[in-house]
Symmetry: none
Subunit: 142 residues, 4 copies
Amino acid sequence: MTDITIDQARTIVSATLAKGREMGLKPLSVIVLDAGGHAKAFEREDGASPGRFAIAEGKAYGAVMLGMGGTAQMARAEQQAYFMAAVNGAFGGRVVPVPGGILVRDAEGAVIGAVGVTGDTSDNDLEAGAAGIAAAGLTAEG
Amino acid sequence: MTDITIDQARTIVSATLAKGREMGLKPLSVIVLDAGGHAKAFEREDGASPGRFAIAEGKAYGAVMLGMGGTAQMARAEQQAYFMAAVNGAFGGRVVPVPGGILVRDAEGAVIGAVGVTGDTSDNDLEAGAAGIAAAGLTAEG
Amino acid sequence: MTDITIDQARTIVSATLAKGREMGLKPLSVIVLDAGGHAKAFEREDGASPGRFAIAEGKAYGAVMLGMGGTAQMARAEQQAYFMAAVNGAFGGRVVPVPGGILVRDAEGAVIGAVGVTGDTSDNDLEAGAAGIAAAGLTAEG
Amino acid sequence: MTDITIDQARTIVSATLAKGREMGLKPLSVIVLDAGGHAKAFEREDGASPGRFAIAEGKAYGAVMLGMGGTAQMARAEQQAYFMAAVNGAFGGRVVPVPGGILVRDAEGAVIGAVGVTGDTSDNDLEAGAAGIAAAGLTAEG
């Protein structure tokens, strides 16, 4: 397993926020975690509510710990709500299973980290984050 | 209370993983708990997501603490979701009530431990774990 | 309450890391919290251990929640260890009372946030962070 | 960052336990964590007390999250007890700062995981674990 670098993480954060401005989204918050689920970089734009770190982190943490993007987690939660609730108990409540939690894969397909975006609708959060990941030359699995 | 031995636990772990390879499953993680719910042995295959310990442990812990395999727990969760949520509150969120949590019984029918398998579908996880338990000459209750 | 802006936070993070490189320090991690103790920006350099977010956050959180820089917190901990332990109980264990936790004040002297730096010695962490805060035209209270 | 493999982890566990038998130690428990602090492999010998997972994990977790072996953590705890107590608060009480928590480095010196050994004296735990890491061709930092 290789880990995302701080240079890649910075590119993802700045390109995600730039995409959000281009799309006219509400103020965004973006986190990049490494392949072990530990924070590499985070920014919260002015005007975002103060609790956005925990939501961004929960989206990205669930993705990397479960090896599933937020879209797949949401599908599982809708099919089997008690399962995702139980999984979240096992992770101390740190998993937020909706779009905007995005796995980051390198050219070989290995997971090297995850991104969490929050602030607008879940689908817009995902679109901005995927653009950020692409700007770093990496592959997003939303 | 008789407890599963480390030799039995090692056989279960290696035979479960061998069965997973034979079935062509995704990378698996396997835990063996003793009759008190405490870890004896664990392995996580390369390529499995980092959070698999908590899920394997949650499946096995629920089985041994409730005295019910994961299949029976899932049935209860589907009938009465609030009950399993309340049970999980009582156990600090450590119960993951789906197949792949397996009680282990000795020749007299006594529970001597539990196994938790995660990584593929819940049904495949159970099939691999049951094969591992059988390889140790013990009886699985999934 | 005026809060630190994302532009100020970015300047602090990048100037702190630049100062660390200039001083030849080990890989650093830097967090900027707003005046309510909530994360605005964070970066962890390549080669820093994975747990550095929690330590950086603990230094900055203690500073802003108690209204005391890390140096003053350390003095208090050395005089009255049980008091700081009790304070930490009240804050759920989030306070790390050593240098490298730095209050950030604006031109009127109001606290607008806090910075936490970790990775080298506590004194070096503080020196790098103070340089970062100065680069943003703000006043550091270490 | 590369991660320790399951084959390396298995070698470390079995060679640590073999060393413990050779030294005539009490029953041991051994965990191997990856570079992100997540369990790869664990075994608890028959006769070890049931709580040994948490102690083994706490030794290894502190090592990898702080980037310091247990010996260095113990020295810091003896010099500045309130600091290690505060750090442990930041990590939810998961850090056990004594010998037997061992960083694992590859040939280039990169941390690829950590080992935690518990059951005998801390110094004997460390000696057995270091032998296990050497058996896998890796470098131990106790």
